[in-house]
């Protein structure tokens, strides 16, 4: 593994940002300050961050309903994100997307997706662009364990193999889809992807280093014309499916244990490879993160709603038809 101290600090900053961002989202949502459904990414931070750490704005990701962490890892700005999550005029999507459809084209973030399994075909298309233009970019689809059953995902796997696309299928197997435990044994998802004809591996999704290693290999393979890769990251959904779900259906002891054993941030900081990151550094990073999030919420919650005319804009590039 080849990772500079700067990159390590960056990885820490991003994971910690996701953590604090999501905790704050939760509490603001509970106070009724945010609209819609939100799905909290806590405890899956190592996956998004390892996945995007070696990407540039020219690389693409297609995200899911649980997309805040992916956005942050891909470099979206906190304030712009919060403006969108609060559905305000100056949000990334003018408030029309919200949590489940947040996107940032300038960062190669092709959108959260409220349709389970909706993203992988789109990510395959971005990979096709990269391949056709020969620009060395890669494209990644994030896919839940539940989403992995959706036919669209199977189709994208196959298309990526047939066209040898520079694409990564990043499965986040947190073992739950809504209130139902995933009946698939761990590893089944990678096995399936492998059976479509691509390298596929199972990785401990709470271990940043293992994830980063797997992602580096996958991204390099993609950039070098080696085709698609699948990674099944085993992880744990810390909170309920959406905010407000107390997950009473879960084995509470197991959940408690998972929370203790598999906190990716705790494991990251405890790892000897993280030694270059001193307590002093982390506390200054932490302070900056909290300040940024504070400021973001302050701005976002005070910001203006979209004006009513915005209802009609951007259906088309320009359009003279009836929009009554």
């Amino acid at each position: 593994m080849d990772i500079s101290p700067e990159k390590l600090a960056d990885a820490y900053r991003l994971m910690k940002t996701i953590r604090e961002f999501e905790e704050r989202m939760r509490s603001e949502y509970q106070q009724g300050k945010l609209p819609g459904f939100i799905h909290i990414y806590r405890n899956q931070e190592a996956i998004a961050v390892a996945a995007c750490l070696d990407m540039t704005n020219e690389d693409y990701i297609a995200s899911t309903h649980r997309g805040h962490g992916h956005c942050i890892a891909k470099g979206c700005e906190i304030e712009a994100m919060l403006l969108e999550l609060a559905c305000k005029e100056d949000g990334l999507c003018n408030g029309k997307g919200g949590s489940m459809h947040i996107a940032d084209m300038s960062k190669g973030m092709l959108g959260a997706n409220a349709i389970v399994g909706g993203g992988p075909p789109i990510a395959a298309g971005a990979a096709l662009t990269a391949k056709t233009l020969g620009n060395g970019a890669v494209s990644m689809a994030f896919i839940g364990d539940g989403a992995s059953d959706q036919g669209t995902v199977a189709e994208a796997l196959n298309l990526a193999v047939v066209l040898q696309l520079p694409m990564i299928f990043m499965y986040e197997n947190n073992r739950y889809a809504e209130f139902t435990r995933n009946p698939k044994p761990d590893g089944r998802i990678a096995e399936r992807a492998g059976a479509y004809g691509m390298p596929a591996e199972v990785v401990d999704g709470s271990d940043f280093y293992a994830m980063y290693d797997a992602c580096q290999r996958a991204i390099t393979r993609g950039r070098e014309g080696g085709g698609p890769t699948a990674i099944e990251a085993i992880c744990n959904r810390f909170y309920g499916h959406f905010e407000g779900d107390p997950q009473a259906y879960r084995d509470q002891d197991e959940l408690k244990q998972e929370r203790v054993d598999n906190d990716p941030l705790v494991r990251f900081l405890a790892d000897e490879r993280t030694a270059s990151l001193t307590a002093e550094m982390t506390s200054s990073i932490d302070a900056a993160i909290l300040a940024e999030i504070d400021r973001g919420f302050e701005v976002a919650l005070a910001a203006a709603d979209p004006t009513p005319d915005k209802l009609f804009t951007n259906v088309y590039i320009e359009y003279a038809g009836r929009l009554r």
Binding site: F37, C93, G95, A114, T152, Y249, R322
Partner: protein, 325 residues
């Protein structure tokens, strides 16, 4: 007894599963303790077991297709398509398979299938969870489309749907789940294709469906205060469509406003307006007004979502325009 649509549907599922053990319920999370995201299937698993209350993976084509195949071979499935927006990932099984079985197999098939699905804007969940896609469903020959506004209708129409031998799409507006009204006890069936006059009136006909009926009622109440007598027709089923009820009311009032929460083009509003001008032209005293959502996706932000959905003020404006003609 007073109950909500949520409760009425849950009660009907309990009653019909007790009555006929070929009735099975299937879908994502339907067998979970809380009975899905909105608790609609609560208590069914405890009573009927996982043999008849079937949790499925997140694969709508397989859910709907398997429900269709099961219906074709002897079960009477009630399948859940959680949000109607997910029609996108299973349309083939409805459009090309289930809806056509009977016709393309020359009458050999019976497909006693109900697909329950949530529809409508108003919960701030944005473009992919708020659509009102019933025009597309009502256009498909071979399926029936039911769309109740009130708990009593939900019970009566769902009972009819489960006992019907044709495939039925049963749309539930998520913004109406909690509204309560009186629901008849015991067995209660409402035939398909019969609209209901929710408010009687003589100056203008307002045709509406599901949540728009509630909006139309509000508009009618406010119009009454202005001395305008509006008749509100609740279509209840979109396919079959009670064309007679619309034409009869129009014959009485001579004026028509249609309120439809869906996008405007090729909507039920267009269909009803077309009906009026084709078969009710004689009785029409003014242009028909269509009050619909705009030709845009449903925005996530609640402030625009509120603008998106037709409301009483817009209905009143359309009525007044029509009367001023």
């Amino acid at each position: 007894m007073k109950m909500s649509i949520r409760e009425a549907i849950n009660q009907t599922l309990h009653e019909e599963m007790a009555r006929d053990d070929r009735v099975v319920v299937m879908g994502e999370d339907v067998a979970s303790d809380q009975g899905g995201v909105y608790g609609i299937t609560e208590g069914l698993t405890q009573k009927y077991g996982v043999r008849r209350v079937i949790d499925t993976p997140i694969t709508e084509s397989a859910i709907v297709g398997a429900a269709g195949g099961a219906a074709l071979t002897g079960l009477r499935p009630v399948a859940e398509l959680m949000f109607v927006d997910f029609l996108g990932v299973c349309l083939d099984q409805i459009l090309n398979q289930i809806a056509k079985f009977r016709y393309m197999f020359g009458g050999q098939a019976r497909t006693p299938l109900v697909i329950r699905t949530m529809i409508g804007a108003g919960t701030g969940t944005g473009p992919q969870h708020s659509q009102i896609l019933y025009p597309l469903l009502a256009a498909i020959p071979g399926i029936k489309v039911v769309y109740p506004a009130f708990p009593a209708d939900a019970k009566g129409l769902l009972t009819t749907a489960i006992r019907d031998d044709d495939p039925v799409i049963f749309c539930e507006h998520k913004a109406l789940y909690m509204d309560e009204c009186e629901v008849p006890e015991g067995e209660y069936l409402i035939p398909f294709g019969q609209a209901r006059t929710v408010v009687a009136g003589s100056d203008i006909t307002i045709v509406a469906m599901s949540r728009m009926v509630v909006i139309a009622e509000q508009a009618a109440a406010q119009l009454k205060e202005k001395g305008i007598s509006a008749e509100v027709i609740d279509l209840r089923t979109l396919s079959p469509l009670d064309e007679g009820a619309v034409l009869e009311s129009l014959a009485k009032t001579g004026r028509l406003v249609v309120v439809d929460e869906s996008n405007p083009y090729c909507s039920m509003a267009s269909e009803i307006a077309g009906l009026a001008v084709e078969r009710g032209f004689d009785t029409l005293d003014a242009p028909v007004r269509r009050v619909t959502a705009p030709h845009t996706p449903v925005p996530a932000t609640p402030c625009l979502e509120t603008e998106y959905v037709p409301n009483a003020a817009k209905v009143i404006a359309a009525v007044e325009e029509t009367l001023a003609y």
